[in-house]
């Protein structure tokens, strides 16, 4: 079997006996030198081509001859080159943004390789240009909120951190910022994401057909790439908004050879409120900030070095000593090397850390502090071998070293110190992968690959074994074993096959399908309604098995006009998962050395249909997306062992995003979102214990009813600053105002419904006497129950 696979990989090499030459190089934006990711390089004569990779590199190998090569990127003017190929030809191309060039705002989509003709499926990209146009919450453009307008992506509501993809949990998405994993992608509990839009270049979400080079999560990979920084000229941009102010500086260090970008944001509600709020005057704080920086250096035509980093934090303090904070820190160094015009390599080294801290108690004899973190060190070599115009081979590996600090907790009670810190945990995840994409003929293309991963836990540490007296109840410790430093405590190996195909039915339509297996070794431990910053990640161990997911997808893709102005797609997916984590009732998830005794394991299934129609060009453009889906779990001890919908199950999910340009200066955009209410637990009855009414569900069912549907309309207006001064001179600066309205018709969308006793008594004297009936009520909570207007001023010079 193994040999056959090897043969498959190398067969194309053997077949290429005839002398061939390669056209290769980088495709960039002429204005700022930014590499264009996913640009099409189309060779007319062979009716085929290549796509630029994450660094803007492409390579096509052809038999000698004369070729017409088109360089195409949406929103940019296509460049056409005629090349007489009689030797290897390096060719770097710079494209001009159509918006920079045309008098009319109407973006002429000259030609773009439509989705229907490439091999990718279940993948969506959003350019920053699009994200910038989407109406923003509190006037702040946001990558994660924009992603939620795409098919198959949902959220449980305002204020919920993270997002759900195709019925997966928030912790089943791998969020990468320049290849560094980001463990908490939210500021202020999900209202804003950690990505500074001024520093983001490209965002791509893989929901299915996930390439072999990615692994580690079941539901999706969100790959966010940062800008390299303008390599042509110095540029400053920023904005003053309702919540934050932003400032970014970018420019060349050595023109066309090295450039940098540094971008920062800080919220300032607390600064403005300080004179008026006593809490803030006394040393309290409430803010969040982030700093994103990147630099690159073009060492030679064959070598390029990138360094990028992110630092962000949310801080909530009641006074100088008490409060809590959390944040991510990442650093990435990448080295691109071209061995030759066909073999591209990138070696990435990453450091990433997520941590949070709490401090309570303002005197030294009575206080409590707790911190927790997860740190990663990653080394990741990737190679792309562009064999010929029809075949590409990708291979590489990844080693991730994890260090977990589940809790460093110290309490002082009346002067006595108690240390309840938990053992640190150490893990290594090592992976190897190889994949090949081949165009078999004019109709069929295939991509197949294999990823192998190993996950091991190392000492020092204590390993517990448990037995399970009753399904769905807390397990009891039956054994304990100490491990020395470096000893292997547990290990898992997994093969993850990936395969996809495309059948080109006509020039403008295709059918694509895929299968992939994903493995997840880290588990996000959260049993609250919404994920929160104190949620802990815990690695697979002797008690928690790795989560496995098998996803099957099938889709139909169609471009509706010759220029591919309109695109339509329909996809179905089915994902079966194993070893899903759920919790016993009353699980104690915080600072618990026997956390694993409170975890349950079961299987899951998620399936659905996604419809997507997009109009890409013209004065009016936008998209409609609809998802019909279901996601369920089946865990022994919950819901009497039957299938139950997850907290984020949504039957219907409809999104409309529309953009319209009135004229060159004024544009309007709107989005509408409708989704079915998410499931929740309702009681059937109650009983009274010691004067307290306690809700009870006689059927003991999980997520038995849905909260009401969610819908919302947002609108935003954008007014560009004048292009010319009053004297008719071209202004050097570029600026614009954005006026946005979130939740235009002030719908009180339910976030949750909770049940409680009515509590009219404000003080002791008013309390009901013991033994009197205590009425119960249900309350619907809307996190945002009104229209939120916001204005921001943005500039660039």
């Amino acid at each position: 079997m193994r040999y056959k696979l090897l043969l498959l990989f190398f067969l194309p090499l053997l077949a290429s006996a005839q002398q061939k030459f390669t056209i290769s190089g980088y495709v960039k934006d002429i204005a700022n030198g930014e590499a264009l990711i996913g640009a099409t390089v189309f060779v007319k004569e062979i009716n085929n081509g290549a796509t630029t990779n994450e660094y803007g590199f492409y390579s096509i190998t052809l038999v000698p001859g004369t070729y017409t090569v088109q360089y195409i990127y949406l929103g940019y003017t296509t460049d056409i080159k005629t090349i007489t190929l009689d030797k290897n030809t390096p060719l770097n191309i710079e494209l001009t943004s159509a918006a920079d060039q045309l008098e009319e705002v109407v973006v002429k989509g000259e030609f773009e390789q439509p989705t229907a003709t490439n091999l990718e499926m279940s993948t969506v990209s959003l350019s920053m240009k699009t994200i910038m146009k989407i109406p923003a919450f509190m006037g702040e453009v946001d990558v994660l909120r924009s992603i939620q307008l795409l098919p198959g992506v949902s959220t449980v509501g305002e204020g919920a951190s993270g997002f759900n993809v195709r019925g997966g949990g928030v912790g089943q998405n791998l969020v990468l910022l320049d290849e560094a994993p980001v463990y908490n992608s939210s500021h202020l509990f999900g209202f804003f994401s950690v990505f500074n839009p001024d520093a983001v270049k490209d965002t791509k979400l893989y929901k299915g057909a996930i390439p072999s080079r990615y692994g580690g999560r079941l539901a999706s990979i969100l790959d966010v790439r940062m800008k390299e920084g303008n390599s042509k000229k110095m540029e400053v941009q920023g904005g003053i908004g309702t919540v934050f102010s932003r400032l970014a500086i970018e420019g060349p260090i050595v023109k066309d050879k090295a450039s940098f970008i540094i971008a920062g944001r800080r919220s300032y509600a607390d600064v403005l409120a300080r004179p008026f709020v006593k809490l803030l005057k006394d040393g309290g704080a409430l803010n969040f900030y982030d700093l994103t920086a990147k630099a690159n250096y073009n060492i030679s035509s064959k070598d390029r070095l990138y360094a990028s980093g992110y630092l962000g934090r949310d801080v909530f303090m009641f006074d100088k000593q008490q409060g809590f904070s959390w944040g991510n820190t990442t650093g990435t160094i990448r080295w691109n090397h071209l061995y030759n015009e066909k073999l591209f390599s990138n070696i990435t080294a990453v450091y990433s850390k997520y941590d949070y801290k709490l401090n309570f108690g303002d005197d030294d004899k009575n206080k409590f502090s707790w911190k927790s973190s997860i740190s990663n060190f990653i080394l990741k070599p990737d190679f792309s071998y562009f064999i010929n115009a029809n075949t590409e081979l990708n291979f590489g590996g990844e080693a991730i070293y994890y260090a977990f600090e589940p809790a460093i907790a110290k309490g002082v009670s009346n002067g006595d110190l108690i240390d309840t810190s938990l053992d640190k945990k150490y893990n290594l995840e090592s992976s190897l992968y190889a994949s090949s994409s081949q165009r078999l003929n004019d109709v069929f293309s295939i991509d197949y690959g294999l990823r192998f991963s190993q996950f091991a836990s190392y000492g020092p540490g204590t390993q517990y074994t448990y037995n399970e007296p009753e399904r769905g109840k807390r397990k009891t410790v039956i054994g304990e074993k100490q491990y020395k430093s470096g000893e292997v405590m547990s290990s898992y190996n997994n093969f993850q096959p990936r395969a996809s195909f495309k059948a080109q039915l006509t020039e403008s339509s295709s059918v694509k399908g895929s299968y992939n297996r994903m493995v997840q070794y880290l588990h996000l431990i959260s049993n609250t309604t919404a994920s929160n910053p104190l949620d802990v990640w815990t690695p697979s161990s002797n008690n928690i098995k790795p989560e496995l997911g098998d996803q099957y997808t099938l889709g139909y893709f169609k471009s509706l006009s010759k220029k591919s102005d309109y695109e339509f797609s329909a996809e179905v997916y089915y994902r079966a998962t194993q070893n899903q984590v759920d919790y016993i009732d009353g699980a104690d998830l915080l600072i618990n050395k026997n956390l694993e005794a409170d975890l349950l394991s079961g299987k899951g299934r998620a399936y659905g249909l996604e419809l997507y129609a997009q109009k890409k060009t013209g004065r009016i453009n936008g998209w409609v997306s609809y998802t019909l889906g279901r996601t369920e779990l089946k865990v022994d001890g919950i819901n009497q062992g039957g299938w139950y919908p997850t907290r984020y199950n949504q039957t219907h999910n409809l999104k409309v995003a529309a953009f319209y340009d009135f004229n060159k200066r004024l544009s309007i955009s709107g989005n509408f979102v409708y989704s079915s209410g998410t499931p929740t637990n309702f009681p059937t009855s109650k009983f009274t214990f010691q004067g307290i009414p306690v809700p009870h569900n006689v059927n003991n069912s999980r997520n038995n009813l849905n909260i009401p549907d969610y819908h919302r309309l947002d609108v935003s207006l954008r007014l560009e600053g004048r292009e010319y001064t009053k004297r008719g001179k071209l202004r050097k600066n570029h600026d614009y105002w954005v006026l946005s309205f979130y939740n235009v018709y002030a719908r009180k969308n339910p976030f949750s419904i909770y049940f409680s006793q009515t509590d009219e008594a404000k003080n002791t004297a008013q309390r009901l006497g013991y033994g009197q009936p205590i009425p119960s009520k249900a309350t619907q909570l809307s996190i945002i129950g009104s229209i939120i207007p916001a204005i921001s001023y943005n500039f660039k010079f």
């Binding site: 009670s413 006595d416 309840t420 109650k686 306690v694 909770y754 004297a765 129950g785």
Partner: protein, 309 residues
Amino acid sequence: MKKIFYTSLSIIAVIFSFVACETEIHPTLEEAESLIAVDGFINNKPGTQVIKVMLTQAYFDNSLPPGVTGASVQVENTTSGEVYAFTESAAKNGDYVWTPAASTDRIGVPGDQFRLRIVAQGETFEAVSKMGRAPVIDSLTFTFQEENAFQPDSYLAEFWAKDPDGAGDTYWIRTTKNGVLLNKPGEINIAYDAGFSKAANFDGMQFFPPIRYAINPSEEDADEKALSPYVPGDSVYVEINSITESTFDYLTLVIAATDRQGGFAELFASPLANVSTNITNVNENGRKAVGFFNVAAVTGAGKKFVLNK
């Protein structure tokens, strides 16, 4: 642990209060059969003891819970062999009462094991409990705390008691202010040794500050302005009730199911789940029951707040 987190959330709640909103709703709930519900929280204090045998009622039924009449209720001290018969009260409201022969008689001492046996509506239910130990309350103190963002100038009460050595003691600390039991769901104050949970490992210490301070009610005047929990002239009485570990787990679930603060804290609330019970039907296929049986040892201390000038 969760409590600390909720407190810290209140600051964020303030910020979002201007956009968030809550509406009382009246959803239709699933039909449900009535179950026997037992409120069997008795103790070793001298005097009468009451066990309530009731039925569950529809969640939005705001009348008094229906009592079960004609039941037979007895508690056996399986350590001493003593049997205590609880007789139905004249009011026939589900109360079953044991009145000791002498006013100083107690139902047992710490370490004793007990079995509850109820025959009601043709079915027999049983539960067992063990009386734990409760530490003596050394003192009650009042301290002044200056105004902050959440509280005006306040007097806070604290109880001082030390958890005895030996891990695994669990308590329910119940407070009476001016003769009124502080009994809102948010006022259920339980401790595992001297800390919040088993994992916290606070054995043999003074009770952890948040537990010591949880005897302070949050009070407001008619204009919803926060008041000092205690003012000179108020009296406070604190009781430490020993509970079993399973009662501790049960009350943890009761807090999660009933202490719904609403607002932003709902983001991080656990989903509603059924609480546990230790009442079992001797016939495995018989009707299930809900509720809990616990026999507590009780220690107490009281103080009237006099400001020393």
